[in-house]
Symmetry: C2
Subunit: 214 residues, 2 copies
Amino acid sequence: MREAATVENRPYHHGDLRRALVDAARRILENEGPSALSLRAVAREAGVSPAAPYHHFKDKGELLEAVAFVGWDALGEAMTAAKERTPDLGARMTEIGVAYVQFSQAHPALYRVMYDCSRDKDELPEGLQDKEDSAYCQVRETFRAFAGPEVADVDIELATIAAWCAAHGLAEMNSFKQFDPLKQGLGGEEGFLRAVLSHLGMFPAARAKANGPG
Amino acid sequence: MREAATVENRPYHHGDLRRALVDAARRILENEGPSALSLRAVAREAGVSPAAPYHHFKDKGELLEAVAFVGWDALGEAMTAAKERTPDLGARMTEIGVAYVQFSQAHPALYRVMYDCSRDKDELPEGLQDKEDSAYCQVRETFRAFAGPEVADVDIELATIAAWCAAHGLAEMNSFKQFDPLKQGLGGEEGFLRAVLSHLGMFPAARAKANGPG
DNA sequence: TGTACATCAGTGAACGCGCGTTCACTGATGTAC
DNA sequence: TGTACATCAGTGAACGCGCGTTCACTGATGTAC
């Protein structure tokens, strides 16, 4: 063996420390929550010195951004999967929403870091903005396909935003205990999510038709 | 003058330190944001020693809870005001939503503390739960009044939750830059909020009528 | 009305802690010749 | 193929910091008699 090794049998040069640090951060988030996510803790979890991360990230914020980006990526994949397994256009939007909320419940700490970073920058991460195949566009195209041709682009856009906002709100409040009785009556959490989310995706034209003016 | 006074001319006994601490916390939130809100900073801002708050709050968490409670109270008042100035039932829900989001934009740090506390306890604060005249009930009764009599209670409840979630989502994302072009096209931020929020308050029965099945 | 005394609500110094970041350093690697 | 050397990616100790909380204390207040 030509390389020196630490006690953990890891070579002096890590090889892919950047990725290892992001993974370590995710592990800390899953196990101990966002408040435990310090640079030092991440280095510790990855088995390197507290100074090592500075060779890969400018500062703590840059590490958090990398973690958040990985999270948005995973969330986008979960949404894509939901979309592809739901050919029925009427149900598709709801299923994407359910997948969204379920992701947030499966990775609550990661989810919080994702939005904390977004808030700091006042925008969703690049990969999720207005690009083709982004999570945002998937939602919008789902509405586009579902809505009648009489619905204007701007209304599709607004419905997309409303749905995204509602899904985020649900993600944050789904665990509130005051919803428990309602959940029981609706066949558990998934039924509850589906029921709330099915209230979305309406359009002003449809509203006028259904309820009449004011 | 019989009382000794500190350099700031304040008597040794404060008189209403509990309230003063909560006010100081709010000032810190407004001026420096949530990350600056430490117990020591609050004591400093109130002009007392770091140990003084412990005569009024068990620990930092209890102070935060008091701050959050005051915030929920103020938000409830803003929503009530919006409701009372909007007699038209068709517009009322949207106006309450606008008031909600505008409150969150006027006091972003306070708003975050409010939800951080709620998340920790997995519930909205007592005063906002299912009690008569709570903010939650105001929203629900607004839907109740607006919906036709054929709409079931459970659907009213679900619409209320969906609306609350969407308003919260909007509150968190309203400042995202990617919405700026859309805002311009809709006459500014308020127009944007109104447009997004008007997508809420639909009911499955209405949906079926308007769009037909899937 | 005075006085002794319990209680309340402050003080200020100190505790240990973990943090983000920097520093001089060194082991390992890659490359030019 | 060997070697000198620049560069890369680690180390570990140290920096100053602000934090939450505790402690023994003391000034002020209220109350029983």
